[in-house]
């Protein structure tokens, strides 16, 4: 696809640059806390890239990604602890489970007229997931959480050092970036953007709203599921309180700040939202205030995000609320 003709959302060199960064960092960084932050950044990047497909490209606002993240994490945890699946099978298992949930939630939610309903349904879904995880004690041990998730292995090699995890998580992040790039720089991506730009025009040229909106939802939920498994195995513990509404909002913030419909922006946003609070820690009580202030400033003065391409959050909300009105 020649880049002078169509906008390319993922530059082909980006993956190489990412891989180089990973290698360079691993050669020079020894601080395990630093690795921890980067690893979390990598996991959140996957969440952000996933949400971006549905929200940044397809224009459907989702406030419940924490729900799919939780399902992925618990699928991974339960798969390992109760079914004896190893890490790799758990990834597959989580993909299937979150994909099914993405479809089941997506189908009715996206068929309903009026974009606001999707927001409510996804919000409600994530809340229900968290409540179920707290209450279904026999399955999840409720607030006590699940512990002792085994470390991933390849053959006789076990991933346990921070550097090992760094490579593993970023291998997945790079894979996700690759697949996301393939999706958005394709006719599928163009259909998503068409739907975001105008529901009615998209329909008038043969694009099935239901098919593509549900597809976007499934892709988002599967990516969130993968991130969930990575989280569960990395922490080797899962508990329901990590998967709350704040997390859904945080991921939305990441893609807004990084730039809606920019894949590199998602990674930037994810890293920023993980790293900046750490830098602000020295301000103690003011940490949250400065953090919130920073977000407000960026959204006000950089409405397209830092690497924004194409659409600002205000435009997205306007389109979203006015969709189905023609």
């Amino acid at each position: 696809m020649s880049s002078e003709k169509v906008k390319v959302y993922l530059d082909k060199y980006f993956l190489i640059i990412m891989a180089l960064f990973v290698i360079i960092i691993s050669l020079f960084i020894k601080n395990s806390y630093f690795y921890h932050i980067l690893i979390l950044g990598g996991i959140y990047s996957i969440l952000a890239i996933g949400l971006n497909i549905l929200t940044g490209y397809c224009g459907q606002i989702n406030l419940g990604i924490a729900g799919f993240y939780a399902i992925g994490a618990y699928a991974g945890a339960l798969g390992n602890l109760r079914l004896g699946l190893n890490f790799w099978w758990c990834i597959l298992f989580a993909i299937v489970i979150t994909g099914i949930f993405g479809f089941l939630i997506g189908f009715p939610a996206l068929k309903v007229k009026g974009g606001v309903y999707l927001v409510l349904v996804t919000f409600g879904f994530a809340q229900i997931v968290q409540v179920v995880l707290f209450q279904w004690i026999s399955l999840t041990r409720g607030p006590m959480g699940l512990v002792g998730i085994e470390s991933p292995q390849i053959g006789t090699f076990t991933f346990f050092l921070p550097q090992h995890w760094f490579y593993l998580i970023y291998a997945f992040t790079i894979l996700v970036v690759f697949i996301a790039g393939r999706i958005v720089d394709s006719r599928i991506g163009r259909s998503f953007i068409a739907i975001r730009e105008s529901d009615s025009a998209a329909q008038s040229i043969g694009i099935s709203l239901t098919f593509y909106k549900v597809l976007a939802m499934v892709i988002t939920s599967v990516f969130a599921g993968i991130a969930g498994v990575l989280y569960a195995f990395y922490m080797s513990v899962v508990s329901p309180d990590a998967f709350d509404f704040n997390l859904s909002v945080l991921v939305l913030m990441m893609i807004v700040i990084g730039g809606l419909s920019s894949i590199p922006g998602c990674i930037l946003g994810a890293l920023a939202m993980v790293i900046i609070p750490e830098f602000l820690r020295k301000y103690g009580q003011f940490q949250m205030v400065l953090y919130a202030l920073g977000i407000i400033l960026i959204v006000t003065y950089l409405p397209n995000g830092i690497l924004g391409l194409g659409i600002s959050i205000r435009q997205l909300f306007a389109k979203f609320i006015n969709s189905d009105k023609h």
């Binding site: 696809m1 002078e4 003709k5 169509v6 906008k7 697949i179 393939r182 999706i183 394709s186 006719r187 599928i188 163009r190 259909s191 953007i193 068409a194 975001r196 730009e197 105008s198 009615s200 025009a201 998209a202 329909q203 008038s204 040229i205 043969g206 694009i207 099935s208 709203l209 098919f211 597809l215 194409g310 659409i311 023609h326």
Partner: protein, 253 residues
């Protein structure tokens, strides 16, 4: 008959937007649809293209009953429309707008698309070539990398027609394509409509500009207050008493 609208009624609550309309569109022709503001023309287009469901009656296109199909399915059957208010993908370039149109009838082979198989790349190449061909046809080739929102209004309307053409329609419904255009733009539009028709595409136009209508169409149907009041050649229509009353009795256009 390519398109048959039989006894079509569309009610909104107690209001008849379209009342018992029977109208046929013959293949290969250019047909006009005129009427005072609010007479139900766009509503009729919306019902025919699946954006609204008929209250009563049926729509048959190319032998198939399409009365209750969703809009995207009707588009895939080669019945495509443009909108009264410009409805472009503003965040995309001119090229991309038309390109999305070329995808209309392709099956959704998700995994092949992600894998970028060889035959898929070939297909993409053909879509790109088709897009360039259409841009050339509508005269926007040199603007292909321009963002759609920054085009002048007249060009935006032409682009929307180009996007519709990209879907390979048999029947093209144009809703007030000349609205807001200057005389030069209208001349270019008429030429484009002739070109489209010469390719075998049937065209059905809603228009207010009488000169455009008279110059271009083979037949005209006239709506007033939701009902069809006349149907015939443009000469017959201009002399028809009911038509004259409909226009003079309301705002003069």
């Amino acid at each position: 008959m390519l398109l048959e609208i039989n006894n079509l009624t569309k009610k909104f609550g107690g209001l008849y937007a379209n009342k018992d309309i029977t109208l046929h569109v013959e293949e290969g022709k250019i047909i006009g649809l005129i009427g005072p503001n609010g007479s139900g023309k766009t509503t009729l287009f919306n019902v025919v293209t699946g954006f609204l469901q008929p209250t009563k009656g049926e729509v048959i296109f190319d032998g198939d009953v399409i009365s209750n199909l969703k809009p995207h399915l009707i588009a895939r059957k080669s019945l495509v429309r443009t909108f009264q208010q410009v409805n472009l993908f503003k965040g995309m370039t001119v090229f991309e707008n038309v390109l999305v149109g070329t995808q209309c009838k392709l099956p959704n082979k998700i995994f092949k698309v992600i894998a970028r198989t060889k035959d898929l790349k070939q297909e993409e190449k053909r879509l790109f070539e088709k897009t360039e061909y259409i841009l050339d046809l509508i005269g926007l080739y040199d603007k292909k990398n321009v963002q759609a929102y920054s085009l002048p209004y007249g060009h935006q309307r032409i682009l929307e027609i180009g996007r519709a053409l990209a879907t390979d329609p048999k029947l093209l419904l144009l809703d007030e394509p000349a609205a807001g255009m200057n005389i030069k733009e209208k001349d270019d539009l008429i030429e484009l409509i002739y070109k489209i028709n010469q390719k075998g595409i049937t065209v059905w136009i809603i228009e207010h500009d009488m000169n455009m209508i008279v110059g271009v169409v083979d037949k005209v149907a006239v709506l007033d207050s939701g009902e069809k009041i006349a149907d015939g050649s443009s000469e017959d229509i201009q002399r028809n008493k009911k038509v004259i009353e409909a226009y003079l009795g309301k705002e003069v256009i």
